[in-house]
Each structure stands twice: as C-alpha cells, then as structure tokens.
C-alpha cells in the first residue's frame, strides 16, 4: 500500500485516494484552434520511468486534489502538495 502524506489529513493509505494521472500536462487555451495541441493534451504522455508528478484526490478524506511527486520504479514519494497552490 502506498502511503500518501496528505497536507490536510496526514499519512493515509492510497486506497483512500483516487488517482488523477499526469499533473504536468497543460490544457491548451479554450480558443486554441491548433489540433495538435489538443491531441497532445488528451493523449500524449511523457510516461517517465522515475520521478512522476501526478494528481491524487483524497476522496475518502478531505476531498482535496493533491500533486504528488512519486518515483514510478520505487514508489517512494518525494513531495505532496495541494494542487490549487500549483495552479495559482
């Protein structure tokens, strides 16, 4: 079981969280007519072997969206923060 240190609730099993995928993907501007940007936003993922910035939502806790930096090989978690701070 991964243990995620939620900045709101403390250390919890990952089964309390819902995975939200790659947090480095940027949504194109709403009026962007470039098909390629939308293709990359929807489908293309860097899929790194190593450190991965990803979203998790603490659905069975504070319901906050978090950005977790996790190693996809060792599963060690390097940082956890609220995603809204990153977005601001």
């Amino acid at each position: 079981m991964l243990r995620i240190d939620c900045p709101c609730c403390g250390v919890r099993d990952h089964s309390e969280f819902r995975y939200g995928g790659d947090a480095t993907v940027e949504r194109p501007a709403h009026d962007n007519p470039d098909l390629d940007s939308w293709y990359r936003y929807v489908y293309v993922r860097p899929n790194p072997k190593g450190l991965h910035r990803e979203y998790w939502q603490h659905v069975l806790g504070c319901r906050q969206w978090l950005v977790v930096e996790r190693d996809t090989v060792t599963h060690s978690i390097h940082s956890v923060s609220f995603s809204r701070r990153q977005r601001a």
Binding site: Y19, D22, V42, Y43, R45, P46, V73
Partner: protein
C-alpha cells in the same frame, strides 16, 4: 537443430537423457543485421520467426535485456480468446486464434494449447443482450460463440455461486469453445528455438541504451554489448515502449501501468474452463499443476515497478469470492506483476512511425499474450515490406489524431483514463 518427436524422446530416454541440446543457440552480436528487433518477449520472438519463415529474412537479431521468458510473456495469465466486438479487433484476434491452433506443429514445440473454452458470466438481462450483440458479430465473422442461459452455465460451471445469496446472480453467459490457455513459457521457448533454427540471433542480457542515427534515419542501436547496425529496427518492448521511444524522439499516447496475477495452492481439478466474471473485473483458470490462476484490475497508477500492491490483491480476491465462494479458504501461493503499455482506446499499436527506420509494436494493454502469433506475423510483414498489412490498418499510431479509435474497453483492458 534436431526435431522433437516421439522418436527423439525415446532415443534420448535410452541414452539417459544426456544428449539434449540447448533449445536455441547462444549468439554474440554481429556488427549489423538486416533487422534488429528490440525485445525478446513473445511478440519480438514471433516477429523474428515469421520474418525468417514467411519472408526469408534470416539476418535478424532479437535483443533482450533480461532473459527469454522473464518479461510479460512469462507473467500473464495465459488466456487466449477471440471474442472481440469491434471491426479490426474481431478479425485480428481470430487470425491469432487460427495461428494458435497450428502453433505447436508450426514450431515443433508443444505449447500445450488447451482449447478448454471461455465463458463470461452475465448478471442482468441487459448484459446478456450486449453479449448477444457480441456473439452475433463474432458468428458473422465465422467465430464460434454461444449464448448460454443460467441453467446451461450451471451445467458447465456448477462451482460458481448459484445460491440465493449471490451478490450478482448469474443470468447467463457468452461462451467461446475454442478459447483456452497455453503454456506461456513454452510459447517464448518455442518461438526462440524455431527462430534460432532459422538463423536468427537471440541475444540475451543485451539492453538497448540508445539509437544510432544517420541524418534523420535510425541505422542501428547502442547496447550494453556494443553497437549493432540495423537496416530496420523493430520495437517490441511493451511495458517500456515509452522509455525507448523517447530515446528515438517519439512521443506516444501510452502510460505504463502495473497488472498483477495470482495463483493459489494446487487443488484437484475444479475449473474446466476459463471463467471471466461479468460483474467485476476478474478472470480465472486452473493450471495443469492445479493452481487457480487469476487476475483482475490494474493497480491504477503509473508504474514500472513489476511488483504488485496489496490493495488490488484484496479487491481481486473479493471478486473471486463473490463469484466462487467455495475457494474462500484456498491459500494464495504467489502474486506477481507485469508492466503494461496502456493506450487510450485499449487497442494495440503496430505502426510505421515518423522516425525513419523505426517500426513500433506496443500498447498491448493487457491483452498481449493472446495476440502473440498474429502480432509477430503482421509485424514481420511490416518490417519486411515497410508497409502496413491490411489486417492491422486499424492499429496505426495516427488513429488517435484522426479519431478512428478501436475503443473496445469492454473486452478487458482499460487504463484509468478509459
């Protein structure tokens, strides 16, 4: 390479079984090959075999970073079926099924293909309707499919939960009699042996670290055992496709996820078929040793770790017991994990790429094992002709951009996105 037969068995038995040779040659890398296939899994080995067998291209190397049979070809739950609904999938997997039916003879290696039949349980009238739709599509493509009612399922599989307290009562099932299992290691070994017999070099312990370029064209690979030149490079490393594609400057619609498989302690014969649970994600068969081999969902987050998490273990066992309460006290012998390329539409990618000289075979989600022979057959044709065979036109990399996806998530594999 000597042929395996009853007579060779008897001859070796009479001489104390001391004369058996290695199944495939130990090869050292040459300076260059017509075709280099990266990845010595089932798909890579099958590709090498069909390149030699169907196209006469024998100056071929298969580069495997670990050992033959150590990757996903030895980690799957060995289920083979061709019960696909969508055009492109239906024909491809049926072609694969036909190759399975002749595989042991074609390879002179017993892959223990056992057409024991697969049933997927239905738990509502609506689900049975969608299964009827699928069965009709299959039958119109010449594939065997039957719809069973509750009593017929009970006759086939009386060990499932038919009690009044079943959480999701079984209403029927879709059944494919030609589906079954094969011994996955034997598939790897059989293809390796047959390819090696055709002159293909199978090089184990050889990890590709980079690509060699001449202008924009890829002309070989840099490996832990030196540089190897190549006329064409085929990538068949599902699980790690993104890692290698990135070195070639290729961005892909793939995420790597972990899928676990499980086996219980051996018991006497109980499960005659392959059984999939229609109310949750769970499938099960019984191995020749007696262990119940089963699997379920992905672990659910990007992973390259090749080892499973206990959260999913519990979920899968819950599904197992909901379908078969009688196995609740069996002990789990082992569980293990493999890394899957998950694509957005749950269908594979066998494709020409924007990178000259590089050909891609990946994105198998977790349906790769059953596709092994057809994947090798088609990828070999692609590597031989530099064109896309008609059978796999739907599996091109361009389909995500154009919207022509084969999004058959209901057939099994799905990433968390799907």
């Amino acid at each position: 390479m000597s042929r395996y037969s009853v007579f060779s068995l008897l001859r070796h038995a009479a001489t104390g079984n001391r004369g058996w040779q290695r199944a495939w040659r130990v090869a050292s890398p040459k300076a260059s090959y017509d075709v280099v296939i990266i990845g010595g899994g089932g798909h890579g080995l099958a590709t090498a075999f069909y390149l030699a067998e169907n196209h006469g291209i024998r100056n071929v190397a298969v580069l495997e970073k670990g050992y033959i049979g150590g990757g996903n070809v030895g980690r799957n739950t060995t289920v083979i079926r061709s019960n696909y609904l969508l055009d492109g999938n239906t024909q491809f997997y049926e072609f694969s099924m036909k190759l399975w039916e002749g595989m042991s003879a074609a390879l002179n290696f017993n892959v223990m293909f056992s057409q024991r039949g697969q049933l997927v349980t239905a738990h509502s009238a609506d689900q049975l309707d969608t299964f009827s739709h699928r069965a009709n599509i299959m039958r119109s493509n010449g594939i065997d499919a039957e719809i069973l009612d509750r009593d017929a399922v009970r006759k086939l599989a009386p060990y499932l939960d038919f009690s009044d307290t079943a959480r999701f009562p079984i209403q029927g099932a879709i059944f494919q009699g030609r589906a079954g299992t094969a011994r996955h290691d034997a598939v790897a070994w059989g293809y390796a042996r047959a390819a090696s017999g055709h002159g293909v070099d199978i090089i184990e312990g050889c990890e590709v670290t980079d690509f060699l370029r001449q202008g924009d064209r890829i002309v070989g690979v840099e490996t832990t055992r030196g540089r190897i030149g190549a006329g064409r490079v085929g990538l068949a490393v599902a699980g790690h496709t993104s890692v290698l594609a990135q070195k070639a400057g290729l961005e892909l619609p793939i995420e790597s996820h972990l899928l676990q498989a499980f086996v219980t302690e051996p018991v006497k014969p109980l499960v005659d078929h392959v059984v999939a649970y229609g109310a949750d994600h769970f499938y099960l068969s019984q191995s020749d040793k007696g262990g119940l081999v089963f699997g379920g969902n992905l672990d659910g987050y990007n992973s390259y770790s090749q080892r499973g998490n206990t959260g999913v273990l519990r979920e899968v066992c819950e599904a197992a017991i909901a379908l078969m309460p009688n196995i609740s006290r069996l002990r789990l012998l082992r569980h293990w994990g493999g890394i899957m390329d998950m694509t957005p539409d749950a269908s594979p990618i066998i494709s020409l790429t924007p990178v000259d000289g590089l050909y891609l075979n990946g994105g198998w989600c977790y349906g790769g094992f059953k596709a092994t022979p057809a994947s090798g057959w088609c990828f070999a044709e692609m590597l031989a002709t530099a064109e896309t065979p008609a059978l796999i036109r739907g599996y091109g990399l361009g389909r995500f951009r154009s919207g022509h996806m084969i999004d058959e998530a209901g057939a099994g594999p799905f990433a968390w996105l799907q």
